[in-house]
Symmetry: C2
Subunit: 359 residues, 2 copies
Amino acid sequence: MPDLDENKRAEMLAEVRRRQARGRRPRMEDVARLAQVSPMTVSRALNASSPVAAETRRRVLEVVDEIGYVPDQIASGLSSQRSGFVAILVPSLNNPHFGDTLGALSARLSEAGLQVLIGHTDYKPDGEEKLIETMLGRRPEVIVLTYDGHTDRSCALLDTAGIPVIEIWETPREPLGHVVGFSNFEAARGLTAAMVEKGYKRLCFVGERVDEGTRGSERRAGFQAALQAAGLDCERCLSGAPPPITMTDGARSLPQILERWPDTDAIVAVSDPCAFGLMTECQRRGISVPDQIAIAGFGDFEVSRLAEPGLTTVGVDASAIGWRTGDLIVEIRDAEQAGDALPPQTVIVPANPLMRRSA
Amino acid sequence: MPDLDENKRAEMLAEVRRRQARGRRPRMEDVARLAQVSPMTVSRALNASSPVAAETRRRVLEVVDEIGYVPDQIASGLSSQRSGFVAILVPSLNNPHFGDTLGALSARLSEAGLQVLIGHTDYKPDGEEKLIETMLGRRPEVIVLTYDGHTDRSCALLDTAGIPVIEIWETPREPLGHVVGFSNFEAARGLTAAMVEKGYKRLCFVGERVDEGTRGSERRAGFQAALQAAGLDCERCLSGAPPPITMTDGARSLPQILERWPDTDAIVAVSDPCAFGLMTECQRRGISVPDQIAIAGFGDFEVSRLAEPGLTTVGVDASAIGWRTGDLIVEIRDAEQAGDALPPQTVIVPANPLMRRSA
DNA sequence: CGTTATTGTGATATCGGTAACAAGACGATG
DNA sequence: CATCGTCTTGTTACCGATATCACAATAACG
């Protein structure tokens, strides 16, 4: 291949630099001219999408490096109809649980050449709706949702978009598509079993008002299953306030428990705040935790680590959710590339009892 | 305007739905046909970029809603040469400080119709380099960097890209562009002044080895300035290990302090881990904190809240960094739209003393 | 009433890549 | 030597929006 006239090459290079100074970034065609190939060949050299002679590739990469060319993913996305984005909506960004999930997910995806678009809903379903619309505009290849409350319009938008949906963190009863989460039932059963193992015999559950949501009722079912398996009384269940249940609700439920089942030696609460409320109320009344009554919660909230004594609870492996979701996304894309859609998957990640001093 | 033949309209609608089912999303042209206008008018109706007759807009929006059209931002970005992205690199995602900053920033930017692209570097400068390259491919309008260590290639890439850069969180001595951060000097001065106010008179500073970095040396300067202003001895400065200074380094420095300045009644450490190490060592030796020696740190790490007694420290307003950065970005864009580049700005956010029980 | 703004709409070119197809060069094969 | 297949490269036609210019209809004005 006849080497380019040195003068001409220098002239072209200068031209590129001049335009760069005026704010016009080099594009593929600039690289192509300098490397004396067609733009298409540059594209191939950079994407390994089809074979390129070693010598040609070397020359192209040399020029790329020399002029600091960075391919425009916007143009690439438009042309190839693959954005390289995965959208994920989380309720909040300053929650370390979601931070772990996001970190693991984005690390896993960047291996696959995908980038995450993060949005936070602030726990508001209509914030989610707006975000979904924004995200869909970026044509993500997959959309990941946390939490299970979606508006009708959200669902309609997702439906017409025809993008694979993954719901993570929890496992909704009527999934929109794929799911990566933990099982509230299994987690509560595991925790309860661990407490039975420690010798507690008269356990009581404090939950939300039964008919609403399933987070709470699945946990209660897990609690009961563990007790049943151990041959213990599993009917001591209090269903209190409508969700979300608060610390105050927890505190209020203590007297009811003491009245109905005075010999209770352990309480499993539907969530950490509730458990914390119970524990505080015990301490106020001079009931020793865990000696007289043991207490456990659910969710490994920050307050549980800080509490005195530390609150026994269930901790979800947030990172695992992230990278398992990443794996699933890669699978989905592979299937898509092969021409068929992956049937809805459900991946369960572990949620393990964290035995602290309160139980 | 003659209404479209109902049959024909229904036919077109069916056509769109059919394609939708086969994975082809509706595009602007579909909307245009159904609303009997040109694609350009649809664009204008959706972007308010130039006047559209009220009746026309109504018709367009109706169709948009009917077929669930969401404009393709990828195509829009390519055409308009404005991606609508702001890239931000943070060291980690599960750090609540950065979470707050990210949350505030993305909330502020979404008001302005911008979207954040988040990357996490895991505190590795060459991870940052890779991320910068990835991000640049998305043609962000502004790029936001945290932490001040950048590789040469990172800087070169940013330079050739010609994108405005904002460094946040701290205030580097040689900024690449704009800065939104707190002043280590002012923050340390504020903390020290607060301690002087509480009555401590013989204060000592434990820092990093002097010549390295400036985080530490600015904090020391702030410490000294506050003491000087109060007419107290400001020469009690220990410069210990090279950064990053650890809990162990803190513990090790206690005997040196006690030997050189036995009458010390308060110690200001360059960072929380160092302070925590000092405090632990005091307790090990039976020195009461804060009665015999008061201790303060810097940064409001999690350990500082958990410590017993709680560690007095400096807390940075992480959210403020986020929204102030957002404001700055909006300013930058406005200036750009007006045709001129905003000269490098430096925005200082407050970093306030958090007086806990250790001082 | 003619002339000049103003408003509302359309036609065309283009943004920077890639998919799909075409074609040249070259060695292997019968 | 003709033919085929493989390897490598180039050509062309988009992807789905918007910038820009052009132009008709209407309003404003002397």
